[in-house]
Structure formats: structure tokens, C-alpha cells
């Protein structure tokens, strides 16, 4: 039962991802992407990582995707954008990326054929994650805080000028 749940979720993830990347309408694509993320969250939970599953939903599917929504709304792409996207998705454009991606997948499959048998099935609770995070990985935490700060400053800088210009007009 649980195992079939895993495969169903995996199927959902792959299909919704493919759908997300082939939609012409950005909002549709975004919705599919959220579905894919939720499916991955299910996978996380099934693999015994409830904390990761929660974060996947809250931050990925929640916060980050909302950012996308905001930006898409601000840009106000509209119907013409959709038409143009459709135009760009003609089969001719598929050839090179498709072949490349397929080759890569093939190689990955070949490489991963002999992976170790099974996952342990042990569930790692948030406490253990927290202890590890602020134990051996403290430096990484510091670095990621720096990274976030840089992202903050960068986003503020880039976005502010956009907004200020708009207001001037």
C-alpha cells in the first residue's frame, strides 16, 4: 500500500513537471509546478523525512512559488504572451534539447543501475535535523545566511529601481 503510494506520487511528480514545463500560460505552468513540489513533499514524507516534507510545502510550494505569482502578475503578460509561447514551442525547437536531455537521462540510468538496494526506512525527526544543522554544519548555516543576505540586498536593489521608475511615470 505505502509502496504504491510512493510510485503514484513519483508518477504525479514527473507528469506534473513535464506539464509545467510545456505549458504556454505561465500561471498554468506554475500550478503544475506546485503540484510537482507537493508530490515531492509526499515522497520526502514517505522516505522518513517529515521535516523536509514540511519545509518543501511551506517554503517551496508556498513562499517561493508565491514570489513567482507576484512577478507574473506584476509583468502582466496577458494573452499575447501565451500565443507567443505557443509559437516558441514548435516541434523543431524540441529536437536538440530533447536529444540532449534524453542522452543525459540515459547516461544517468546507466550510472545508477547499481545503486545500493534499499533505503533504511528510519525516520529522522526535526530534532535530529536541528542538532546536525547547528552542530557540524554550523559553518554552512552561516554561509547560507550570508547568501540570503546577499540575495536580499540584490533583490531589493534590482526591484527597487523597477518600482521607483514605475512610480515616476
Amino acid at each position: 500500500m505505502m509502496e504504491s503510494l510512493f510510485y503514484i506520487a513519483a508518477l504525479v511528480a514527473v507528469m506534473s513537471t513535464v506539464a509545467a514545463l510545456t505549458r504556454a500560460n505561465a500561471i498554468h505552468a506554475l500550478i503544475y509546478l506546485i503540484v510537482s513540489l507537493l508530490a515531492v513533499a509526499v515522497l520526502f514524507f514517505l522516505m522518513g523525512a517529515p521535516f523536509a516534507a514540511a519545509l518543501e510545502i511551506v517554503i517551496y510550494a508556498g513562499a517561493i512559488m508565491v514570489l513567482f505569482v507576484f512577478v507574473i502578475m506584476m509583468l502582466n503578460l496577458g494573452e499575447s504572451g501565451v500565443a507567443r509561447e505557443q509559437e516558441w514551442l514548435t516541434p523543431r525547437n524540441w529536437v536538440v534539447p530533447g536529444v540532449m536531455a534524453a542522452l543525459l537521462l540515459l547516461e544517468l540510468i546507466l550510472a545508477l543501475r547499481h545503486a545500493p538496494a534499499l533505503t533504511s526506512g528510519i525516520s529522522v525527526d526535526p530534532k535530529a535535523v536541528g542538532l546536525t544543522l547547528f552542530g557540524p554544519y554550523i559553518l554552512a548555516v552561516e554561509i547560507s545566511s550570508m547568501l540570503l543576505l546577499a540575495g536580499l540586498v540584490g533583490a531589493y536593489h534590482l526591484g527597487r529601481r523597477f518600482i521607483v521608475r514605475r512610480e515616476k511615470r
Binding site: 536538440v96 540532449m100 536531455a101 542522452l103 543525459l104 547516461e107 544517468l108 546507466l110 550510472a111
Partner: protein, 610 residues
């Protein structure tokens, strides 16, 4: 008495004049310019008097110029009879020409510059003749060359003058370079450049007819030929007439151009070791004197006629040197300095009084209008043509006699010299008859003043009596006594110039003989223009040297070597452009190429893993 003062005085005056840069009053400039040379002349006279009294060679060492190993040329002077003669000519004639220049150049804005150059020239020329070693001689040698360049191009506004000046310098420089190589050879082989020790060493180490002295003297001869405007480096002298006339008188007639003669005479012991070179000297002399005389016949610029006659007369001096009659050569050098300076100065007076007219066919009838100039010119021409009892007669006669006595080739040399004498007489009296007789074409607008007339009269006197001077050369050159005087030869020598005079009279004044018809024929025309252009030697040199050189320079202007480096640059730029094509700026292209790399990398890893 301080011998070093003699070249130093003009040098000092030249420096002062240069430093003043024309802010000095004109009268002071003139006094300084002429006075310094006059003072030097006075000192030379005193020196000569002393020398004639005791016959002592005077040697003065000022300082050692440089000392590297055994190469120790000194700044030192060596004054013997030959030097005294040369110094007397340089300062004496030089002073007269300076005096004359004051009036001639008075109206020129650059009087100061003129006198500075002239004084510098006198100083350099004195150094040349007084030098104790060949390196110092070379200093004077090049120094006079530069002064000649500066003075020929004195009127710098006309580009033609500049061209003539450059030609003069570069052509003589060709000879100078040969001479420099000669100096290297002499030093390498004999270990010294001091003239007297050099002669001793040469006689000690070399036999007559050895290769080395022949090569060395040939190289020195190159220098002499260049400076003295002999074949094949004579082409610069006619063009050098672009300078002010007193310059032509001093540099291009009386002194500098005879430096080559001096050089050979000074090193005669070396030349005696190389009979082939001596023969070459003689033949060069004969060839040059004939070529120049023929050319002079066809010219119509008064100064060019005199220039070619100078070339021709120096040819006689070379002939004298070549047959071993060194004293006669120097004697002719002196008399030539007198009468050629006289001729140039008289020509200068004509030009000065006729609004800078140079063409003899636009002169005429000046006999009554410029009497002083006429008589000067007449006397000068007589001496040039070697009419009996003028100074030129004695010196030229001695040369011809020496040539005749030469074994084997003697008669040929003599005949060449004689033909030259005939031609000399014809062209000089052609000049006199056309300029001073006949119809007046241009009216003179002034008469020469005392500063011009005075030097003329003095030089007239010298041209007339110069033949009776006894030069103190006995201690310098070996005696070659005229054992038997061949009277028929003597008589022919005397008669030839008179015949030339007669021919000239018949052709150009009396018009009993006419060559108009001959000249009008195509052959005559061609011959005339051939002679007028100096036997087309200029054209030959242009085609042979000047044009290839300028073409080469033009061809190389863009640096063939740099093109090589540019090829490297082009190759790297090409690869840059090619690789630049990969950088399209399109994100998708980058992503795809990254994936391609990834695929490739994985493939390699997979292959290695299995």
C-alpha cells in the same frame, strides 16, 4: 708662440657669433668674423717667418684625445713646410675672402650666421692641415664637410640649395667612409694613427707593392676623391655653387676641395709603397681634368664654369701626385688657390653688381662698366689658362714636365694634361670674351666698394707673382730633380694655352670661326646637352643609387619586419573571432553547451567505470 691659437681664434670667434645669435651689431659681427681670421693670418705669417729662419718642425701636444689600449690619438699639431704652405693659403686667402664677404653679404639678414660658419670652417680646415694624427685630421676633414654643407645651404629658404648642400655632404661622406675604413685598416695593421710614426711603421713593415698598403691607400684615395671632387665622386661640386659666392671661393675652390691633395701629399710615403694606387691617382687626375674641361666648355652659368674648372685643376694636382711630383702638386694647389679665389671673387662681384645674374649670355660688355672686375678676371683667367709668366704657368708646366718624365705611361698622361690645358684656355677665355666684351645685356647697378676691390687687387698680384714663390717643401718631399729639360716638350707646353686663347678669340669674339652649324645639327645638340649635364653622370647616379635607395625606403616604410609580428597578431585575432562565435550571449545556447559538456563528461566517466 702659441701655435694652438691659430685654429683657436676662428673657433672662438665662431662660438661667440653663434652664442650671440645675431643680437650683436652688424659692424661688430663683421669685425669679429674677419678680424679673427686676419689675426690668425698674422700669426701664421709670424710662424712662417720663424720656420723659414730655422727650418724646425714644430710639434705641439695639447692633450690626449682618448686612450684605449694602444689607441692614443692626441690633440696635437705638427707644423712642417707643407703645413705652413697650407696654413698660409687658408688664412691668407681666407682673410681676403672674409674681408670681401663683409661687403658682399652686408645686406643679408643672417650676416652673423654666415661669419660663424665661415670662421668655423677656417678653424676646421686649420685643424685638418695641422693635425699630427689621422684621427684629428679626420675631425677637421668632417668639420669642413659640415661647414660646407651649412654654407652651401646657407640660403635655406630655397629647397634646391638644401638639396645641393645635402648632395655635397652625402657624396663626400661616401668618400669619408672609405677613408675611415682606411684608418681602421692602418690602425689595425700598424697600431698607430700618428702620421710620422705611421710612415716609419709602414716603411718598416711593408714592401713596395704589398697588398695591404695598396688597399689602405686605395681607401684613403676614396676619401681624397670625395673631398676633392674627382671622378667618380665629383658630382657634388657644381651643385655646391648654390652657396654664396665667397663660400665657393673659399671652400669650393681655394681650400677644402684641395684637402684630398693635402691628404695624399701628407701620406705620400704610404702611397709610394703602392704603385698601383699612384697610377690610379694619376689616371683619375687625367680623366677628371679632361671630363671637367669638356663639361666647362658647354656651361652657361658663370659659377658652374668655374666649378668645373676647379674640378679640372684639381685633376692636375692629382696628376702631379700620381706621378710623384708632390711639390709640384702643392705648388699648383697654392697658385690655384690664388687665381681661383680671384676668379670666384670677381665672378661674385659681377653677380653682386648685376642683380644676382648667373647666366653669362645675359652679361656682356662689362669691360668698360666694371673695369676693376674685368682686369681681375682677365688676370685670373690668364693664370688659369697658364699663359706664360703667370703663376699658373709655372705650376702647371712643372706638372706636365713631371708627367712626361714618367716611365711608360708618361707621354699619355702628358698628352691628356696638354689637351686639358688647351681646353682650359678655350673655356676660360670664352668666359672672358662673352662676359666682358660684346654687347651689354644687363646694366650693373653698383660698383664694387673697397672691401671687394681690395681683396681682388691683392689676389691679382698674387696670381701674377705667385709663380716665383719658393715653397719650403724641400724637407717634406723627396727631391726629384729635373735632370734634363726637354725643350720641345717645354715649347709645346707654352704654346698650347696660347693656341687655346687664339681659338677662343676666333670662336667667341672675332667670330671668324663658327661652330653654330655644328651645334645646330642633331649630333651637336646631343653632344652639347651631354656636356651641359656633365656627361649625364648625375642621371647615372640617380638611377644607380639615389632612386633605388628612395624606392627601397619607400617600400620598407611599412616595416616588413613588423608585418611578421602583425601576422602573429592577425592569427590570434582570427582565433579570437572564431571562438567569439561561441559566445552568443544566449542563455539557452550556454545551457545547451553545458549539457553537452556534461553528457560528454558522463560518457567518459561511464566508459572508464566499466
Amino acid at each position: 708662440m702659441a701655435i694652438w691659437l691659430i685654429p683657436f681664434l676662428p673657433l672662438l670667434s665662431a662660438t661667440l657669433l653663434m652664442v650671440s645669435t645675431g643680437r650683436m651689431p652688424r659692424s661688430l659681427t663683421a669685425v669679429l668674423g674677419a678680424g679673427s681670421v686676419g689675426l690668425a693670418a698674422l700669426l701664421v705669417a709670424l710662424l712662417a717667418q720663424g720656420f723659414l729662419a730655422d727650418g724646425q718642425v714644430r710639434e705641439v701636444t695639447l692633450w690626449t684625445w682618448m686612450a684605449v689600449d694602444n689607441f692614443t690619438p692626441r690633440v696635437a699639431f705638427y707644423v712642417d713646410g707643407l703645413t705652413i704652405v697650407m696654413m698660409s693659403v687658408i688664412t691668407g686667402v681666407g682673410f681676403l675672402i672674409h674681408l670681401y664677404s663683409i661687403e658682399f653679404m652686408w645686406d643679408d639678414e643672417s650676416l652673423c650666421r654666415y661669419f660663424a660658419y665661415m670662421n668655423l670652417f677656417v678653424a676646421a680646415m686649420l685643424l685638418l692641415v695641422m693635425a699630427d694624427n689621422l684621427l684629428l685630421l679626420y675631425l677637421g676633414w668632417e668639420g669642413v664637410g659640415v661647414c660646407s654643407y651649412l654654407l652651401v645651404g646657407f640660403w635655406y629658404r630655397d629647397a634646391d640649395n638644401g638639396k645641393a648642400a645635402r648632395k655635397a655632404f652625402v657624396v663626400t661622406r661616401v668618400g669619408d667612409t672609405a677613408m675611415a675604413l682606411g684608418l681602421f685598416l692602418l690602425f689595425t695593421e700598424l697600431g698607430t694613427l700618428d702620421i710620422q710614426p705611421l710612415m716609419v711603421a709602414a716603411n718598416a713593415n711593408w714592401q713596395v707593392g704589398d697588398t695591404l698598403p695598396i688597399v689602405a691607400t686605395a681607401l684613403l684615395l676614396g676619401g681624397a676623391v670625395g673631398k676633392s671632387a674627382q671622378l667618380p665622386l665629383h658630382t657634388w661640386l657644381p651643385d655646391a655653387m648654390a652657396g654664396p659666392t665667397p663660400v665657393s671661393a673659399l671652400i669650393h675652390a681655394a681650400t677644402m676641395v684641395t684637402a684630398g691633395v693635402y691628404l695624399i701629399a701628407r701620406n705620400y710615403q704610404l702611397f709610394l709603397l703602392a704603385p698601383p694606387t699612384m697610377q690610379a691617382v694619376a689616371w683619375i687626375g687625367v680623366a677628371t681634368l679632361l671630363l671637367a674641361a669638356f663639361t666647362a666648355l658647354a656651361q652657361h652659368d658663370i659659377k658652374r664654369i668655374l666649378a668645373y674648372s676647379t674640378i679640372s685643376q684639381i685633376g692636375y694636382m692629382f696628376l702631379a701626385l700620381g706621378v710623384g711630383a708632390f711639390a709640384s702638386g702643392i705648388f699648383h694647389l697654392m697658385t690655384h688657390a690664388f687665381f681661383k679665389a680671384l676668379l670666384f671673387l670677381a665672378a661674385g662681384a659681377v653677380i653682386h653688381c648685376l642683380h644676382h645674374e648667373h647666366n653669362i649670355f645675359r652679361m656682356g660688355g662689362l669691360r668698360t662698366r666694371l673695369p676693376v672686375v674685368f682686369w681681375s678676371f682677365l688676370i685670373g683667367s690668364a693664370a688659369l689658362a697658364a699663359l706664360p709668366f703667370t703663376s699658373g704657368f709655372y705650376s702647371k708646366d712643372a706638372i706636365l714636365l713631371s708627367a712626361w718624365e714618367q716611365p711608360d705611361i708618361g707621354p699619355w698622361l702628358w698628352a691628356g694634361g696638354l689637351l686639358g690645358a688647351l681646353l682650359t684656355s678655350i673655356y676660360s677665355f670664352r668666359l672672358v670674351f662673352i662676359v666682358f666684351f660684346g654687347e651689354a645685356q644687363t646694366e650693373p647697378d653698383r660698383q664694387p666698394g673697397w672691401r671687394m676691390a681690395g681683396p681682388l687687387l691683392l689676389l691679382c698680384l698674387l696670381s701674377l707673382i705667385g709663380g716665383w714663390f719658393a715653397l719650403p717643401l724641400s724637407g717634406v718631399f723627396p727631391e726629384n730633380g729635373h735632370a734634363q729639360v726637354n725643350h720641345s716638350v717645354e715649347i709645346i707646353s707654352i704654346a698650347t694655352p696660347l693656341l687655346g686663347l687664339l681659338l677662343a678669340y676666333l670662336l667667341f669674339l672675332g667670330r671668324q670661326l663658327s661652330i653654330d652649324k655644328l651645334l645646330a645639327s642633331p649630333t651637336g645638340q646631343a653632344l652639347k646637352s651631354f656636356c651641359l649635364s656633365g656627361w649625364r653622370i648625375d642621371n647615372l647616379y640617380n638611377a644607380l643609387w639615389v632612386r633605388p635607395y628612395t624606392n627601397l625606403a619607400h617600400w620598407w616604410r611599412n616595416e616588413p619586419i613588423d608585418q611578421l609580428y602583425n601576422a602573429v597578431v592577425a592569427a590570434s585575432q582570427w582565433s579570437h573571432r572564431t571562438l567569439l562565435g561561441l559566445q552568443t550571449g544566449e542563455l539557452r545556447w550556454y545551457a545547451t553547451s553545458m549539457v553537452f559538456g556534461l553528457v560528454l563528461l558522463l560518457a567518459i566517466m561511464l566508459r572508464n567505470a566499466t
